[in-house]
Amino acid sequence: MFSWQFSRLTILYPLILFLLFFLDGNVMAALTPLLLGGSFHILPLGTLIWFFYAIQFELTKDMPFTVYVILIGLFFDIYYTGIVGTYTVAFLVATLLMRAVRPYFDERLLSALLLFLIGLGAYLGLSYFFSAVVGMTSLTISQFVYLVALPTAVLNLLLAAVFYYPAWSLLQRTH
């Protein structure tokens, strides 16, 4: 049905994206003892997962995807950190990379998760690099990998896997 297809991609997709943008911060605030307990630093990356779904299910041509990515990146920078540029670039590069290597992957869950892992790696790596440039982080690369990147990857891969099939059935193209 055209109208359902239309409203899913033009209304529902950006709406959920916008919601996830806030949810990431709220979850971080509400569940801090669980996410930052111990020395680990687990980041909820719902927004990135949502971008990954659009790439995985090949919907990027049916909507102004790059505009969404840049907008959410800017929102992140202005609302959460107050430093413009870091997350805009991290989101942009991560999604561009995932789009570039998407043709080498297929629809199977494990293949999809590997694609997401590549994007997640690029996202975290870039945000680390830029924070190091402005002197905001004191973590060494190895500390960053085992305290931040690994636990974050585990949680978000799990989330991406759990919502993979629901998102697929919601977003799949019918034409």
Binding site: L19, F22, L23, D24, G25, N26, V27, M28, A29, A30, L31, T32, P33, L34, L36, G37, S39, H41, L43, P44, L45, F75, I78, Y79, Y80, T81, G82, I83, V84, G85, T86, Y87, V89, L124, S127, Y128, F130, S131, V133, V134, G135, M136, T137, S138, L139, Q143, F144, L147, V148, T152
Partner: protein
């Protein structure tokens, strides 16, 4: 050999890299110099915080259930310990009240209006926390309309946890004491040693051990483990006598010259739902 990039792409890549690094460093520098963000950013953040507040309601409800369940498990042991402590506090509280009254009447006699230890508090609630790895920033629901200013100290349930980093109209960003960026943790502090006070500043945060660092201490012989650390009030905007934490250990720095003092913060930086912002009365 196959060329991966054309020279045009290479130039574009290089220029955009420079622009991005410039943008990040520039906006960081700009934000630190201004007392309030530009109008557009302020309005944008106010709108976002309002939406965020609505979404925070269910997530906070879930979060507090989960946290209170975790707390429940340790309640019995804690309760026993706390009961033993509480009698002591009643006595201290009465004494403190008496001293405060005496202090105020003495100040009046001396003609002093406000000193560094006088401050008002504004209570605030955490709306959101940056889902990023190091800029430990919170967003709270009070802004310039409640009289907050950049640089004011923020208190958790037991002591200082951070300071206001950015003030919008109805919300503010708090950079936590654990924030490692250059200007975030220059809190002027005093270690209350047995043989006199030792002044200094917080120079960093050790993410691994979760302790604050106080560098370049000149007379560390006065400091020992377990000493209380409070804000010194030097600099004017942060009142004196706010509880920071206790000395965890003392070590010589990398070059063997001056000592480094590690301080365990009093408040749990991971459980900050209700906060107080301290407004010093010195300027008013």
């Amino acid at each position: 050999m196959k060329k991966w990039f054309s020279s045009r792409t290479l130039v574009t890549l290089m220029v955009s890299f420079l622009v991005i690094v410039g943008l990040i460093a520039g906006s960081n520098w700009y934000a630190q110099r201004r007392s309030q963000p530009p109008f557009f950013q302020r309005v944008f953040n106010d709108i976002n915080a309002t939406i965020s507040k609505a979404i925070a309601w269910p997530t906070n409800a879930v979060g507090s259930r989960a946290n209170s369940f975790a707390n429940l498990l340790s309640t019995f042991e804690e309760n026993k310990k706390l009961k033993a402590k509480i009698d002591n506090y009643a006595q201290t509280k009465v004494r403190l009240q008496k001293m405060t009254e005496e202090n105020q009447s003495l100040k009046k006699q001396l003609g002093l209006k406000h000193t560094l230890t006088d401050y008002d508090t504004v209570s605030a609630v955490t709306i959101s926390r940056a889902p990023t790895a190091w800029d430990s920033q919170l967003i709270i629901n009070k802004g310039s309309n409640a009289g907050l200013k950049k640089g004011m100290p923020v208190l958790g349930d037991q002591g200082i946890v951070g300071r206001i980093a950015e003030v919008n109209t109805v919300n503010s960003k708090v950079s936590l004491i654990s924030d490692n960026s250059e200007d975030a943790n220059r809190f002027a502090i005093t270690v209350k040693g047995d043989q006199g006070d030792v002044n200094g500043v917080i120079s960093g945060y050790n993410t691994d051990q979760k302790v604050l660092e106080m560098g370049q201490v000149t007379n560390p012989q006065n400091i020992k483990e377990g000493d209380t650390v409070v804000t010194s009030g030097l600099g004017g905007i942060i009142p004196a006598g706010l509880y920071v934490g206790k000395v965890a250990n003392i070590s010589t720095d990398n070059y063997g010259l001056s000592k480094k003092v590690y301080i365990r913060p009093s408040s749990d930086l991971n459980a900050l739902n209700n906060l107080l912002v301290a407004k010093t009365q010195m300027e008013q």
